[in-house]
Symmetry: C2
Amino acid sequence: MQPEANTILKGDSFLYEFSLSQNDLDAFVSMSGDCNDIHHDELAATESPIGPKTVPGMLTAMVFSRVLGTMFPGHGTVYRSQSLDFRRPVRIGEKYVASFCVQEVIPERHRAVIDTIVAEKQTGEVCLCGTAVVINLRRL
Amino acid sequence: MQPEANTILKGDSFLYEFSLSQNDLDAFVSMSGDCNDIHHDELAATESPIGPKTVPGMLTAMVFSRVLGTMFPGHGTVYRSQSLDFRRPVRIGEKYVASFCVQEVIPERHRAVIDTIVAEKQTGEVCLCGTAVVINLRRL
């Protein structure tokens, strides 16, 4: 298969800035059914280890799906695995940067191993990190 | 802290049946921004390794967030980590069972290690598996 111009190589990286809103949280709860009270009830949130205005970890993790599936490597990407280590709370309205760094590409299997991180934009502190293994027949 | 009646112990397990609809997929795409064409374009899907009518892996993974955050252990649960190994496609309209088995509880840290699996209801074949580490101050 002839590689496309946007073939991804070992060492390539990609950055994506984002923030999450109350609307994002409401939509996540509506579709996931995850109405865990620590994300909605101020008292429950304050008494929890994560504090108020924190979004569910899986909502933050969706940024990996968005970027891997539509930008880097992009359309055609199929997930094989994703590890998620939730290190710090992600809060509504704050600015974050998702970063992606290609650790390994196995062209004969159209496969890449990509480190995935979400960090606070202002401080650089890591909130969520993990590693994705993806397949993309067109771009890997 | 006095454990509640529904304290979770090593060896406990929980089953949750579910299926995903086209509406679920549409809502996921709308909120995640993951419009990867293999989930929408029949030709792209057919040419991909996963085939047609397959939902994004992260949409399936949301069932873990739903159950851990609202049922088992339930409200108050905070994610520390989740691994996700996507083994087989999950398709719109098919029936699946999510199963949860407590491997370890560390009461002094209010922490549990829980194996998490999604399998086809009819065949029992595993589509998604992994391990969650969660904290719950009230129930662990």
